[in-house]
Symmetry: C2
Subunit: 409 residues, 2 copies
């Protein structure tokens, strides 16, 4: 048995140093909603004038907090974010919707803001009612604990939203040509760990970003980061990415170059997305699957995802087995145009196949050597067009089974 409580072997050495974001104050609290003896509730208070953009799960059975956020996000303004870990408030019916509204109203009253400017996220068990009494009591403790979002507060906030994550996740990037920056925290272990459900990412900037600009860049950024990772192909009821822009950075009223902002946002989202894959349940290898030569970029992504989601490919990676027949299989099942007789495959720098057959001179020993590392690159050219895409995943090991066939019961 793998030790399911140990930190992922792919974890970064330590939580990064993150700068303060003007206009963001953070607080955490141990509400005891499911976990004992650790903070499980976080609050981010946002300065007046903060804009918001969000991307939510495509699940048709979304959680009550996702319903709430979707309802209010058209306003484009935000004053607070409340997130709890331990209970997803998903598939909880009318009682769950009431719990979400109660949380928003209580927090709004405590901060003196509009309840429709309070964003919610919940992660944890599906189908269990929220403990409204414990939650209500805890909410009254949050506002007095608010502190500026200094490096210590970021780490505490990232810790408070963990469920099965084996480490807290944070990232930042400066916005070139300004004093502003983009800072994000995230949780997720497995594309979803469904009892402790959800991929959540909260991204903050003190740049001034209009809500419609934020929406456009966040959608694009998520498409290239959080939507390009897969641990087990499952999709949470609660997946949420929120971007808050306070506009409180010094100089020019927080104005920044849009391209510089976009670059910083992309950097933070991609870093957080990779950190989630590196904390994939049972992961021992970080795998980048790149597909080139597809009909278009969308086709390339579908093929790359078919490879990255295949249990057979992922178990081969776990065993450092250069089992490229499984890659051919995954390309074939993707349903996207591929020229079998022009297919080429690389494992690391070693070309395995060309022209639809094994390459003369292919060295399985060299391919295996690459696969023995914990950073794996696989590339497939499908010989049709010029579309390309990269998807990131991890291997499939006994650790995944240990975690998912055991931890709830």
């Amino acid at each position: 048995m793998a030790d399911v409580t140990s930190v992922s072997p792919l974890a970064p050495d330590r939580f990064p140093d993150l700068p303060a974001v003007a206009g963001v104050r953070l607080a955490t609290h141990a509400a005891g909603l499911r976990y004992e003896g650790r903070p499980d509730l976080m609050l981010a208070e946002l300065a007046p004038g903060t804009t918001v953009a969000g991307v939510f799960t495509r699940s048709l059975c979304p959680s009550a907090p996702v319903d709430h956020c979707r309802r209010i996000i058209g306003r484009g303004t935000a004053r607070a974010l409340v997130c709890n870990a331990g209970n997803a408030n998903a598939f909880t019916g009318a009682a769950g919707a009431a719990s979400a509204e109660l949380t928003a109203r209580a927090m709004a009253a405590g901060l003196g803001v509009d309840a429709d400017d309070v964003y919610l996220a919940s992660t944890g068990v599906i189908g269990e009612p929220m403990d409204d009494v414990a939650l209500g009591a805890a909410l009254t403790n949050l506002a007095p604990a608010l502190a500026d979002a200094d490096p210590t507060a970021w780490a505490a906030a990232a810790e408070a939203i963990r469920t099965t994550d084996t480490y807290a996740k944070g990232s930042s990037a400066p916005i070139a040509g300004s004093s502003a920056s983009v800072v994000g925290i995230a949780k997720g272990s497995g594309m979803i760990a469904p009892d402790m459900a959800t991929m959540l990412a909260f991204v903050f900037t003190d740049a001034a970003v209009a809500a419609d600009v934020g929406r456009r860049y966040l959608s694009s950024s998520v498409a290239g980061s959080f939507n390009r990772i897969t641990v087990d192909s499952d999709t949470s009821t609660s997946d949420t990415v929120l971007l808050f822009a306070t506009g409180q950075a010094e100089g020019n009223g927080g104005a920044v170059d849009e391209r510089a902002f976009r670059a910083a946002l992309d950097t933070v989202c991609l870093d957080l997305a990779h950190q989630i894959v590196r904390d994939g349940e049972g992961a021992t290898k970080f795998v980048a699957v790149t597909v080139t030569g597809a009909a278009d970029d969308t086709a390339a992504e579908i093929i790359a995802r078919a490879i990255a989601d295949s249990p057979l490919v992922k178990t081969a990676f776990a065993a450092s087995d250069a089992n490229w027949g499984r890659i051919v299989m995954a390309v074939g099942k993707s349903g996207q145009a591929a020229e079998r007789d022009h297919l080429a495959i690389w494992i690391g720098a070693e070309q395995v196949a060309a022209g639809g057959a094994k390459l003369d001179g292919y060295s399985e020993a060299r391919a295996t050597e690459h696969l023995k590392g914990d950073e794996i690159d696989v590339r497939v050219d499908v010989g049709v067009g010029s579309g390309s895409a990269t998807v990131w995943t991890c291997d499939l090991t006994h650790g995944y089974i240990d975690i998912n066939a055991g931890y709830r019961s």
Copy 2:
């Protein structure tokens, strides 16, 4: 570590008694193409006038034998079937296509039939060239070994086409109102075990069935059986189902009632499909997932497949964990219409959820008791319409990882 060589705990007690099919003669041979000391090549010689229908993999990277069969099947006639285990002859380029044609021509010459009436199937390693010398030598040994397809010959044929299968698979059904019957053999362990690739099923009848009738009923039968099972969501380069009708049954020139034939064909295909799931890699439980209340039957099948393919649902079943939140998650990710607030879920006879929330009086103990058995029934009503479908799968265990992260290298 699971013992990967042991027989599946879900295996039937023994290979069934199968009747002879007039007009079918079988032979097997140890060709040594990959395996040592066991037959790995089978031949079925078919009487003149035999019709054929086939269903092949949807993979866009099909094997050379699949290409061959697709090329000739429009003729509707067959005189022989040759199948080898150990090498899939897939992703082998022009050399692979030449090997397939060599096999068909050699067998045709040995039997005195047309090479375009010789059907081929190969299962095994992807990407390795066939050993044409060994294969050619073996083919000359097949024709002299032909014997009537008595029960012993069926068992030997089913044994010869095994790869990672832990038991040989066969099934039969009489055709009501006639002396004819339908007999099938199959291999498959995992929807695909891609080194030892492939789901193969060969079905024989001594009824007289016109090729177009056979095509229509085989397609329908496969849609409700082999296409409704999933072990790991992967799709082989070589999946093949062939139906051969010799018309050699006594009385009325083999004529049978079409509905009686169809019923027998459905029975045999469903039995063989279930036997494949029961031999799923690492399987310890046989799971039927039924979805009702969907927009239509196709939507129901997609939702049922999302549940049956979810690694998180399958690991919960492995642990006898009544983790119904994972079922909600899978419904939500399926992309098909479902009314979250009307969703109802049953585990065995125990209703878990109704009206989009956990049912008052739900007993997790009773649900767990059902899950501790090795035959699991799950039903979900999605509250939209009257579409329904059942998909069969198995649980996901350490045994799957042991087999797939280990056996090739």
